[in-house]
Subunit: 383 residues, 2 copies
């Protein structure tokens, strides 16, 4: 049900001809109110795509009536012309929907450095608007796929209100978000400030802790729109929890569909002096190409975990580090622990625990293995 699970929203997904292969490539999500509250989190990459620069302004204006999303082109590094194209996209959608352009967020994904075919995109908005439906969430989720092999949606329903959403992303997943477009919707009756708090708290421990290949995108956008259509205002904590649950589910789906991956790796850092230390160590492990290759080969090569920990500034003593892989403590006190032959790595999910023995804080980072398929997919992407 995706973005249309919550009351007050319609959506559509169509093939506008932006992608040369004729696959769906344009999605429209409309908030029919009564509220049009919104919050957004964007890439921390300093090279930001035109739609990110635009949508940041939309969020500042404070009201989001619709989101236009396209795959088939990122509209990043496209100069003033690219920004004009994003603006024209918002204006077109605003015209069709009878709203103001500054209420229309825009998201794009695909190859960097290529202008969008506006002669296809603008008529596509008419076509998408004509198909807007309370059942359109699934099609919208399909239309934003790039190298995704499956579309990703999630819904959490509470007592009379709902949070739902869709996500796309399969590579370039790294902190500060990823090549990740996410639209979340809710019919809870909440204001911008509540949405913003809930969304930032959720992304901090979900999307920001998904690190597929260490590469940070120019286009990452996570939007949360509230229609108020349920008439219910949940408690802050209850609402934040629901948003976090949907984000965690979508984040897990992103890792599960990461480009070329054959293993989903949960890196759990425990015994850290601070949460920051735990996150730094988790990221360092998650980004270690040699370890990611070893996991691909079902090789519990814990030396590469220690080598990754050793590059961080976290508090620890080398001779107190402990590492478990799938429940076997293969490294104890910085040295050889239980027999590595005991580690069973046949299944897709791999669980690494790194114990810094320096405190009680923890953090979990999700990543995936590095495979020949990842290389193939990304060496042929733009050609």
């Amino acid at each position: 049900m995706s973005v249309t699970a919550a009351k007050g929203f319609t959506a559509a997904g169509i093939a506008a001809g932006i992608k040369e292969n004729g696959n769906p490539d344009l999605a429209l999500v409309v908030n029919n109110g009564p509220r049009r509250a919104a919050a957004g989190v964007f890439t921390s990459n300093r090279v930001k795509a035109a739609p990110v620069l635009w949508s940041e302004q939309v969020l500042k204006a404070g009201q989001v009536s619709a989101v236009v999303l396209n795959s088939g082109g990122a509209n990043a590094c496209t100069g003033p012309r690219g920004f004009q194209d994003t603006h024209a996209t918002a204006e077109k959608a605003a015209d069709v929907l009878g709203r103001g352009a500054i209420e229309v967020a825009v998201c794009s994904t695909g190859l960097i450095g290529v202008l969008l075919p506006m002669d296809k995109l603008l008529p596509g908005i008419d076509a998408a608007a004509a198909q807007l439906s309370e059942h359109g969430g699934e099609k919208a989720a399909i239309a934003i796929k790039t190298t995704d092999t499956v579309h990703k949606t999630s819904v959490v329903t509470r007592d009379g209100w709902t949070v739902g959403g869709m996500a796309k992303g399969a590579g370039m997943l790294a902190p500060g978000l990823a090549t990740m477009l996410v639209v979340l919707t809710t019919d809870a009756d909440t204001d911008n400030e509540t949405l913003d708090r809930a969304l930032r708290a959720a992304t901090k421990v979900t999307f920001d802790r998904v690190d597929s290949d260490g590469c940070m995108s120019t286009n990452d956008t996570v939007l949360l729109l509230a229609s108020g259509a349920s008439g219910i205002t949940p408690g802050d904590e209850e609402f934040a929890e629901a948003v976090r649950e949907v984000c965690a589910d979508l984040g897990r789906q992103l890792i599960g569909d990461a480009e070329g991956a054959s293993k989903d790796i949960k890196v759990e850092v425990v015994g850290a002096a601070t949460e920051e230390d735990a996150v730094e160590v988790g990221r360092s492990i998650a980004r270690n190409n040699l370890l990611k290759c070893a996991i691909h080969g079902e090789d519990p090569n814990w030396g590469r975990v220690l080598s990754a920990i050793g590059t961080t500034r976290a508090a620890f003593e080398p001779d107190q580090l402990n590492v478990a892989i799938n429940g076997v403590w293969v490294c104890k006190n910085g040295s050889v622990g239980e027999d590595r032959e005991l580690v069973d790595m046949r299944y897709r999910e791999v669980h690494i625990v790194a114990d810094l023995a320096a405190g009680t804080e923890t953090a979990t980072i999700w990543t995936n293995d590095l495979t020949a398929d990842y290389v193939h997919e990304n060496s042929a992407y733009s050609s």
Copy 2:
């Protein structure tokens, strides 16, 4: 001629049986004086192998008479027993050579987390000592190979004095050195302080700017030994230049033999406000897996260069960035530049220039592409 190009040195390389496949795995380099001056640079990984911890102490003591190097095992993360083994190795070599153990540096390379077969290694030192020769440099260079496909040596001769050396390293090449063992020798009559200044200045702009896969080793060691046998004391600058030349040559050979690589990539950052900015941007580009895959596919995907620059804290404006790939300015002012079809990427060496348009400082980082062969090699290394 390697480490025996300079007068006053003998060396040997033998198969001691540390490697199960019977390949050469033990090298011995001896400084016969009259001087036994030395300098060393070690990994900045906080998880340091036993031989690194030991050799750091040897350097502090101030005199190096010999270096024992083994492949077939890194002796890292091996606890107190591993350190005892390194100590026993130094004592054995000292006995055989009639010197003190604290004058014997030890280097190890291979798999982390496995104890060395001391019953093979210690008799191997006798065997190596029996073969010490002024022509043994080549064999020593061969004995330290792990996944290296070729052995690496370099020699620079000046007016009456020489700097020569050998290196091993093929993966885990990243700043703070790499899985890199380097022994440099000179017959110049120089003291420890001069050696130290020359070596640190050289590694800073050579080995420290070689970044194959972003992974930092537990074992990196670069040693520079001086015998004084030429009787000549070169000028500081002239000497430093010779050391830098040998280090640059060996560094270039390391990248040329990086695991699974099919392209050597020279990332040149220009127009930076500071040298630190240039290095940070160069590293960020060199470590971008998506870009490294694209280069492998001979795809001049400059968007991934901009995306990498955008993750740094360097001074720049996104709309002033310029990028050239093999001489074609595919990105100008942060947007589409010359036709990417003009870029010829058929040759092994690829040259990326990133112009930050923020100053006059520059730095060059060498890296390589990311390939399916890298994945295969590193997913099967320890099994």
